[in-house]
C-alpha cells in the first residue's frame, strides 16, 4: 500500500520496519515528528529525553545491550550529542545504532546554518542522505543493516525540505529483529586510553572498508543520459536538479555522503566535459572532488547561503531563465512570526522591557521577545546559554549592572541545559536572577511533554520535576513563583529579586495558550473611555491594532486572555462573554 508520508514520518516507519527497539530524542525543528510518529508503534520503546546527549547515550546503551536504537535531533542538537557520538564511533555497536540529524538550510526555524556532514567526517561515521520520503524509509532500514554489518553507528542526514515534504511511500512489514545477546567486552566497550588506541585502528580499517563499499553501493547511482554535462547531487538538490535539467545532463546521485567514493566520481567525471556539484550549505562534496583532482564547479556557480531552488540550478547550468512572473512594485509589510494571542511570555517581556532590564535570552517561543514592539531580549545563543552567559556578563560588568540583568529560559530548555549554568552561578558566588518561563510544555516545536509536565511522550502519568525544589537543592535561597499575567505583582517580584545581592530564581508560571487545557473564552473590547495612551499596543498582541488613531481589537484574533485588561490604566478594556 502506498501512503503519502512526511519525510520524518517515513524515517519513523523505516525504523519501525527495521525492528527498532528504542528511540530517544529531544525535540528540535525540523526533526521532531520522527520521534512523535514512533508513538504510533506500540512495539517500540520511545521517550523524550532531557537533552540530545542523554538521548544519544540511552540509545548507545540500548545498542550495547543488543537492541536496535535511534536518536533524532536537529543540526544544533548534534552539537549537544557530539561527545558520546565521537566515542561510540570507536566502540561500535551490538544492536544497530542510528543517529538521524536534520539540517535547516535557509534557517526556517534555527539559529545557525551548520552543515552536519562535517560531523560524519570528524567522528568517522557513515552518513546516508535520502532525497524524498520513499528514500527516507529505505535508507533508514539500510542504516540499521549497515550499522550491524560494519559495527558502526550510522548517521542519516535530512534537511528541512526532505523532513517536511510529503511524498508516496510503499509500506512494508516489521522485521522481527531479536534483541542480541549482551556479552561483557571491556576492550571494546570501555574507552580508556589503552583500549581506545586499539579501537582507533579498527575505526580506520572500517573507514577503508566503507570507502570500498561507497564505490559499489546502490545508494550511489549514476544516470547516464549521454550528455557532456555531469551533475553530482545529494539529498533534495537531486530532486531540484532532476526537475530543472531533466535528461539534459548525466547524474551522479550520492545517497551515501560519507565516506564519499573516489573511483566512482573520477569515472563519472571522465565521461563529461563539465561537472557541477549541487549541494546546499558547505562545499563538502566539491572539496572532496577537488582533492581527488577532479575539476568541478560548485560554490562558484551557486551559494554558501540558504536553500537552492530548481530555477537557480537551471540558470547556473543551462543558462535557462525563470518563467515570467508578476512583480510587486511597492514595499509590502513582512509578516514575521509573533507570540500568539494569549501567550504567557508576552506579559513577562512587557514587564522586563518596562523595567529596562538587560535580558540574556534563550531558545524557544520566547526568543520572539526580541522582535518589535517588545524588543526586550538582548542575546540568544544556544540552549541554556541565557543562564551561564548572564553570569559572564555580571562578572565583567559588576554588581550594579547585575541588578539590571535577568536570564529568561523556558521550562524545557532549563531542564535541557540551564541547570548546570544555575549551579555555576551558585557555586561561583554569582548574584544573578534567572526567570524560568514555565508554560507547562515544550512550545516552539509543537507541544512535546518534558520532565516538568508530568507526562511521558505516550501521555502516561509520571513523576514531575519540581522546579522549586530543584532550585533549592542547588543552593538558591530566593525562589518566587509568580503569574506574569498579574502584571503589577510580577513587576514587583522582578524588581525585588534583581535588587537582591544574592542569586534568585523566579518561576513565571502560566500555561501556553494553545494547550487544550487552557480555556480562555470570549473577547476583549475597547470602550469609549479609551484615552488612546496606547499602552496596550506595547504588548505586541496580534489582536490589538491602531486603525487611523483608534485602538481596536480584532475579534477573530483575540482569545480573551485578558492581559490587555490588566495593563490598561484607565479600565477602558473590558472582557465580554
Amino acid at each position: 500500500m502506498k501512503k503519502l508520508l512526511l519525510g520524518n514520518a517515513a524515517v519513523a516507519r523505516g525504523a519501525y520496519e527495521a525492528g527498532v527497539n528504542v528511540v530517544s530524542s529531544y525535540p528540535g525543528t525540523p526533526s521532531t515528528e520522527i520521534t512523535e510518529k514512533m508513538v504510533d508503534f506500540e512495539e517500540v520503546y520511545v521517550e523524550w529525553a532531557p537533552n540530545e546527549k542523554v538521548a544519544a547515550e540511552v540509545c548507545i546503551g540500548a545498542s550495547i545491550a543488543g537492541g536496535r536504537a535511534m536518536s533524532c535531533c536537529k543540526h544544533v542538537g548534534l552539537n549537544v550529542m557530539a561527545d558520546p557520538v565521537f566515542t561510540v564511533s570507536y566502540i561500535g555497536v551490538n544492536g544497530g545504532l542510528v543517529f538521524c540529524v536534520a539540517d535547516d538550510p535557509g534557517m526556517h526555524s534555527s539559529q545557525n546554518e551548520q552543515d552536519s556532514r562535517h560531523y560524519a567526517k570528524g567522528a568517522k561515521v557513515l552518513m546516508l542522505e535520502p532525497a524524498d520520503s520513499a528514500e527516507c524509509k529505505e535508507f533508514t532500514k539500510k542504516a540499521f543493516e549497515l550499522s550491524e554489518k560494519y559495527d558502526t553507528p550510522v548517521f542519516i542526514r535530512l534537511s528541512t525540505r526532505v523532513s517536511h515534504s510529503q511524498s508516496l511511500v510503499e509500506l512494508g512489514e516489521r522485521e522481527n529483529a531479536e534483541v542480541k545477546e549482551y556479552e561483557k567486552n571491556i576492550a571494546k566497550n570501555v574507552m580508556m586510553p589503552a583500549n581506545a588506541v586499539k579501537r582507533h585502528v579498527v575505526v580506520e580499517e572500517r573507514m577503508k572498508a566503507l570507502g570500498a563499499y561507497a564505490e559499489n553501493t546502490s545508494l550511489n547511482k549514476v544516470e547516464d543520459n549521454g550528455s557532456k554535462i555531469g551533475v553530482i547531487a545529494n539529498g533534495i538538490t537531486y530532486m531540484y536538479a532532476k526537475e530543472a535539467l531533466g535528461e539534459e545532463v548525466n547524474y551522479l546521485k550520492l545517497g551515501m555522503v560519507y565516506p564519499l567514493p573516489e573511483k566512482l566520481i573520477k569515472d563519472f567525471a571522465a565521461k563529461c566535459e563539465k561537472v557541477y556539484v549541487t549541494e546546499e550549505l558547505d562545499p563538502f562534496i566539491e572539496e572532496h572532488c577537488k582533492a581527488l583532482g577532479v575539476e568541478v564547479i560548485g560554490k562558484d556557480a551557486f551559494t554558501l547561503l540558504g536553500e537552492y531552488t530548481p530555477q537557480m540550478i537551471a540558470k547556473a547550468i543551462l543558462g535557462k531563465d525563470a518563467p515570467k512572473c508578476a512583480e510587486i512594485k511597492e514595499n509590502i509589510p513582512a509578516r514575521p512570526p509573533v507570540m500568539c494571542a494569549g501567550c504567557p511570555h508576552r506579559a513577562t517581556f512587557y514587564v522586563l522591557k518596562k523595567l529596562g532590564l538587560t535580558v540574556s535570552g534563550d531558545i524557544g517561543c520566547y526568543t520572539l521577545g526580541a522582535v518589535a514592539p517588545l524588543q526586550s531580549v538582548d542575546t540568544t545563543i544556544c540552549m541554556g546559554a541565557s543562564v551561564s552567559a548572564a553570569l559572564g556578563m555580571a562578572k565583567v560588568k559588576g554588581k550594579e549592572f547585575n541588578k539590571k540583568l535577568v536570564s529568561v529560559i523556558g521550562d524545557s530548555t532549563f531542564i535541557h541545559s540551564g541547570i548546570t549554568g544555575l549551579i555555576d552561578i551558585v557555586y561561583n558566588k554569582g548574584i544573578n536572577t534567572v526567570i524560568i518561563l514555565d508554560n507547562s510544555i515544550t512550545g516552539m516545536t509543537g507541544h512535546q511533554d518534558n520532565p516538568t509536565t508530568g507526562l511521558t511522550i505516550r501521555g502516561e502519568a509520571t513523576k514531575q520535576v519540581n522546579l522549586v525544589k530543584l532550585a533549592e537543592a542547588v543552593g538558591i535561597e530566593h525562589i518566587v513563583v509568580a503569574d506574569p499575567f498579574d502584571v503589577k505583582n510580577f513587576e514587583k517580584v522582578v524588581k525585588a529579586e534583581t535588587e537582591r545581592e544574592e542569586p534568585s530564581v523566579i518561576i513565571a508560571q502560566r500555561p501556553c495558550a494553545l494547550l487544550k487545557k487552557v480555556k480562555y473564552t470570549g473577547n476583549c473590547s475597547i470602550g469609549d473611555n479609551c484615552k488612546k495612551c496606547k499602552l496596550c499596543m506595547k504588548l505586541g498582541c496580534p489582536a490589538i491594532s491602531d486603525r487611523n488613531g483608534a485602538v481596536v481589537i480584532d475579534k477573530t484574533q483575540c482569545n480573551g486572555c485578558g492581559l490587555c485588561v490588566n495593563v490598561c490604566p484607565f479600565g477602558a478594556i473590558k472582557k465580554e462573554g
Partner: protein, 189 residues
C-alpha cells in the same frame, strides 16, 4: 499530464496544513504522483506560511518557484498579494478577503497595502470570497480552510464526490458536519 502546482498561503494558525492534507489525499486517490512541502516551527507562530502541493505523472521537486503556480489558494489578502510573483502567467488566485494585520502594521512601522484586489487583477484571474462569513454560516469560523477547499474543488478537474469522500476520511468525526457544510458553501459560491 503536466505537473500541476498549487500554492496554499496564509497566516500561521489559520489551518493551511489541513487544507493541504485534504488536497494531497484527493490527488493520491486519483492515482497521481504527489509531493507536498510545508514549513513547521517558528513561522507557524503567526508568520507567513506557505505550503506547496504538486501532482502529476512524476513529481521531482516538492517546491514551487516564481512563475510556476497554476493556482494560489490564499487564506488572507496580503498573503495572496505577497505570493503573486509565484503565479504562472494566466493563473488563478482564490482568496479569502479577510485582512489580518502583520506586526509591522500593528506597530505603525508600515501600512497595510491598499486596493490589493485590483492590483492582483492586473496580473491574475482573481476569485475573492468572504470565507470567514461562510465559515460562520457553516457553524465554525475555523472552517475557513474547508470553505476555500470547496472553491478550489469547483475550479479543479477532479469530481466533487472525490473531495467529499476525502474530507470524510481526513476530518475528525465531530467536526465533519460543519466541514461538509463549509465545503458546500465554498463549492457553490
Amino acid at each position: 499530464m503536466n505537473t500541476k502546482s498549487i500554492m496554499i498561503v496564509g497566516v500561521g494558525g489559520q489551518g493551511t496544513l489541513l487544507a493541504s492534507r485534504i488536497l494531497g489525499n484527493v490527488v493520491i486517490d486519483k492515482g497521481y504522483d504527489v509531493k507536498l512541502s510545508e514549513v513547521h516551527g517558528m513561522s507557524q507562530r503567526g508568520g507567513s506560511v506557505v505550503t506547496y502541493v504538486k501532482y502529476g505523472e512524476a513529481v521531482h521537486s516538492p517546491i514551487i518557484c516564481k512563475g510556476e503556480a497554476d493556482i494560489i489558494l490564499a487564506f488572507e489578502l496580503l498573503e495572496a498579494y505577497r505570493a503573486l510573483p509565484y503565479l504562472k502567467e494566466g493563473g488563478t488566485i482564490i482568496v479569502n478577503n479577510q485582512k489580518i494585520n502583520p506586526m509591522p502594521v500593528i506597530t505603525g512601522a508600515a501600512d497595510y497595502p491598499e486596493d490589493i484586489e485590483s492590483k492582483i487583477k492586473e496580473n491574475a484571474n482573481l476569485i475573492s470570497v468572504d470565507a470567514l462569513s461562510l465559515a460562520k454560516e457553516a457553524g465554525n469560523i475555523k472552517a475557513v480552510n474547508v470553505v476555500l477547499i470547496g472553491m478550489l474543488a469547483k475550479s479543479s478537474e477532479i469530481e466533487k464526490q472525490a473531495w467529499i469522500d476525502t474530507i470524510k476520511s481526513t476530518v475528525p468525526p465531530k467536526f465533519l458536519e460543519v466541514n461538509l457544510k463549509a465545503f458546500e458553501l465554498g463549492y457553490n459560491k
